[in-house]
């Protein structure tokens, strides 16, 4: 498969959220990669570099990303003065834009809410609109910065299912930044661990289909990842 993201020796210094000390990373088309790491490990810095949002950053390295790239932030970032449909299709033009927007809202189970204002929605619903806004653009790469971090546990689980379905339908490459190891294993094909601005681990997730064996392997994987993060896996699970 073709590579859509190519990062070589990426260095970022003097940023607010953390530094990058030489990152090499390839992401293939349609691949779902989770990026985990402690606070300040550089996860968000890397994502912002990929999104092209680090205008003031000081650094070097090679960075190739696809032109069609969408970002989902931790907060939904809907424009409060635009109705949902206008938020979804913001900046798009063409005759079928509204139809595409309606379809995107239907995909995130918000049919009939096109004319609602953002303040009328719950946090989870707002985040679903943000997903629709990202996917309606047909991205080759979807960058998601802890998109479920602010949601309650139950809503988060529903969002996992939704994101998995949408990723399967639209098949963009996904880079999901998360601090939740369980979420990373649940959603991604591959988990990359970032520590102190370097890649500390790169693990392929190949769990068997269901059954007790899957649960066992998932727990094992979780412990390995937690060990990368400097947490004793067994203790973390017990507590």
């Amino acid at each position: 498969m073709s590579v859509v993201v190519r990062v070589r020796d990426l260095v970022r210094r003097f940023t607010l959220k953390g530094v990058l000390n030489g990152i090499d990373l390839d992401i293939k088309a349609g691949e779902f990669v989770a990026l985990i790491g402690r606070s300040g490990s550089g996860k968000s810095t890397l994502l912002r570099a990929l999104a092209g949002l680090d205008h003031e950053a000081d650094g070097s390295g090679e960075l190739i990303v696809p032109k069609r790239l969408s970002v989902v932030f931790q907060d939904a970032r809907l424009l409060p003065w635009k109705r949902l449909i206008d938020n979804v299709v913001l900046g798009l033009d063409g005759t079928d834009v509204l139809q595409r927007g309606r379809e995107a809202l239907a995909e995130v189970e918000l049919s009939g809410r096109e004319r609602s204002w953002p303040y009328e929605l719950s946090g989870g619903e707002q985040q679903r609109v943000a997903l629709a806004r990202s996917l309606v653009r047909g991205p080759d790469l979807l960058l998601a910065d802890e998109p479920f971090g602010a949601l309650d546990a139950l809503t988060r689980l529903r969002m996992h299912g939704l994101l998995r379905r949408l990723a399967a339908t639209h098949n963009p490459a996904v880079l999901l930044v998360t601090h939740d190891v369980e979420e990373a294993i649940e959603l991604a094909d591959r988990v990359v661990v970032l520590d102190d601005g370097r890649i500390a681990g790169d693990i392929t997730v190949d769990l068997p289909q269901g059954g007790p064996e899957r649960r066992e392997r998932a727990a094992e994987l979780q412990q390995r990842l937690l060990a990368f993060l400097g947490v004793d896996g067994r203790q973390a699970i017990l507590t």
């Binding site: 092209g52 424009l79 409060p80 998995r164 269901g210």
Partner: protein, 295 residues
């Protein structure tokens, strides 16, 4: 990507589609009883005409004083005297004529001031160099009271209509500029980042993000601007004018007609209130998307 046919969360995921909020049996709802009700910090909904209470009380006090003969008619005529004089002035055409002239000046000055204020705010809010050039100048101008400018305005533009409208425009543009500029610079960086990731161009960014984001500031500036346009009007109309409400009041002062002066005041109050109400109506229409303490 892996096809997870049976995943670890499957049992819990059966819950979707999303639950509705109005689950539960219909029926009468008992008033809740609780031993702990936190103090309500938000305001209860305002009654539509609640703001009339204060002015009403004042009018009552004034009427009592006048009716009881405690108030000398030469200092402050009774409310009904002012009403009669007002009706007389309307009948003989003096009030409508002068009002039309005054309103014309105020509106022209206001429109000019809004155009200049918004344009300067956009230039100085959206470009660094524009900010360096314009913002300092406006702050300087802000330090000079409009009354102090009038001698120069007369020197440059004479005592005609041009000078009057320019003085009003200069007074109006300051609050428009300040509040619009402030709102522009206060636009959330998160919305700017969003616009960048969505690939909006500069025009789209201004149209969809900047302008709607700064509109509350502009409308707030407009409320101040409208009020100060009437203020400036009073000042310029008492300067060598031959028409307008201010002229009518000045003339009345020369003949010690306290009732006509009072009518002038009432007209100013009504003009101020009406225009402010208009701006607030505009605010309500434009900002349906907001939920705030006051709404």
């Amino acid at each position: 990507m892996n096809a997870h046919s049976a995943d670890i969360f499957e049992a819990r995921e059966q819950g979707s589609p999303m639950p509705s909020h109005d689950a539960g049996p219909p029926g009468p709802i008992a008033a809740p009883t609780s031993n702990h009700v936190p103090q309500r910090l938000s305001l209860s909904p305002a009654a539509a005409w609640g703001w009339l209470l204060g002015p009403g009380l004042l009018l009552l006090y004034w009427s009592v004083l006048s009716y009881g003969g405690y108030m000398d008619e030469r200092f402050l005529p009774a409310p009904w005297t002012a009403m009669e004089t007002g009706l007389d002035l309307i009948r003989d055409g003096r009030l409508p004529e002068n009002l039309a002239v005054s309103a014309g000046r105020a509106v022209q000055g206001l429109v000019l001031g809004v155009i200049v204020g918004v344009t300067l705010a956009l230039i100085s809010g959206l470009s660094q160099i524009g900010g360096y050039i314009i913002d300092g100048l406006v702050q300087l101008k802000r330090g000079i009271p409009v009354l102090a400018l009038i001698p120069f305005m007369i020197l440059w533009f004479g005592v005609g209509e041009m000078m009057k409208i320019l003085v009003i425009a200069i007074t109006v543009f300051i609050p428009i500029y300040i509040h619009t500029h402030n709102a522009l610079r206060a636009i959330d960086i998160k919305h700017v980042e969003l616009a960048e990731t969505l690939g909006l161009n500069r025009q789209q960014f201004i149209r969809h993000v900047v302008f709607p984001g700064a509109l509350p500031g502009l409308l707030l500036g407009l409320r101040f601007g409208v009020t100060s346009s009437w203020l400036a009007l009073v000042v310029v109309e008492q300067l060598n004018a031959t028409s307008g409400i201010g002229y009518m009041v000045t003339l009345a002062r020369n003949y010690a007609q306290a009732d006509v002066m009072l009518v002038g005041l009432v007209v100013y109050a009504l003009l101020g209130l009406t225009s402010d109400a208009l701006v607030r109506y505009l605010q309500r229409r434009l900002f349906a998307w907001r939920r705030t303490l006051g709404s």
